[in-house]
Symmetry: C2
Subunit: 203 residues, 2 copies
DNA sequence: CCCAACTTGTACAGCACTGTTCGAGATACG
DNA sequence: CGTATCTCGAACAGTGCTGTACAAGTTGGG
């Protein structure tokens, strides 16, 4: 009664158009604000969305819920892009292509990930991270099966390394020690020899 | 007058022994607490040190100052250990030894680094990070000069990769997906082929 | 046109934290 | 032993946040 818009689960009653616009604006603003500061307050986000703080709480029960939806949306969007990456053919080429598409996404949404990690329970993070991670893992496993990638390292670890380097690259860029243009090539030429068969002729 | 112990720069007046003990206990507790939670409050730290909160503020002007000193001490200790690593001889072996010694240190002080990053200005972080980083950089450059490491990647980037993988390993351990025993070998056999000359025979 | 849905600012309660003050008590150390 | 140094708890001011309540306005949509 008192609360005008109580949605949160059940009641799929279509929202009025202006309400939909508000929600969209808030999510957009949250994405932008959290990217700048993972600790952005609801006041900041509401202001950036051009909306009253009360309105924000009308649509999202809590800050946590807002962060959750923002993160989920960010991941969903990323997945849309990743879905279009051609992973067939040579596993090495596939990995290169995957890197090319992934690293920009990661660089952009990394700060949101931090925000999510600070407010969401770990299992929720993993839940949303699972699908994109699985994608990498599948590719690596295929490469191993075909003999393109080394098999002396656990797949899990290789996936972790993949993400470590990508995130590291994002760090280097925000630190200004690396420019975005050369990033993809750099990452690729770093990871490929690390994943390739023949551990290196040294020793 | 009112403030009993005002040290902070100048006045190298020797502290009384119990005061020294308090300072030591606080720093130790800070290390432990910040390792568990990078946002640990002064109250928590004081309690863990078995000391009143007021006492803590008697020795450290602010939380920032405490974090700074804790981080600095942690880095100094790490450097002591790192100083004893033999980096002469084959660059690859040197790197392997450096990894062996570094990764434990990183795994232990990683959370403190996070705390430092959240409270200290970025240039202060860099200032304290500079020396250990230089160590890695020098080794890599030497390896490049001798022909052991590839030269097609910027040294800065290789250093960044080095740290990325180490931190990534630490993450994997705290996530329970990797056990401490196998970590060093895993890291080494990941990084070495990535740094080695002959980019890999593939393609 | 009308009403329910939506938005708004202000204001408030509650919390957690930082940093300071005070006054009294304990303790190192000369 | 005496004193400057140190420690303590309790208490307070100040800040910045979250989440809620209210009461009045605006707007979409049937």
């Amino acid at each position: 009664m008192t609360d005008s818009q109580a949605r949160t689960s059940e009641s799929t009653r279509a929202r009025r158009s202006d309400a939909q616009r508000s929600v969209a604006a808030i999510l957009e603003a949250a994405q932008a604000c959290l990217a700048l500061d993972p600790d952005a307050s609801t006041a900041e986000i509401a202001r950036a969305a051009g909306v009253g703080r009360v309105t924000l709480y009308g649509h999202f029960g809590s800050r946590l819920e807002l962060v959750d939806q923002t993160f989920a949306r960010s991941m969903a969007r990323a997945e849309e892009t990743l879905d279009q990456v051609d992973l067939s053919g040579d596993a090495r080429d596939g990995l290169a292509r995957l890197i090319g598409s992934s690293w920009t996404l990661i660089a952009r949404s990394r700060s949101i990930l931090v925000a999510a990690q600070r407010t969401l329970p770990p299992e929720r993070i993993r839940e949303l991270h699972d699908r994109p991670m699985r994608r990498v893992q599948d590719l690596i496993e295929r490469g191993q099966a075909v003999g393109a990638f080394r098999t002396d390292l656990p797949t899990t670890w290789m996936v972790a390394t993949f993400y470590s380097v990508l995130h590291g690259a994002a760090d280097e860029i925000t630190a200004g020690r690396l420019d975005s243009d050369s990033a993809a090539d750099l990452i690729t030429s770093t990871i490929l020899p690390c994943f390739a068969r023949d551990p290196a002729p040294s020793r």
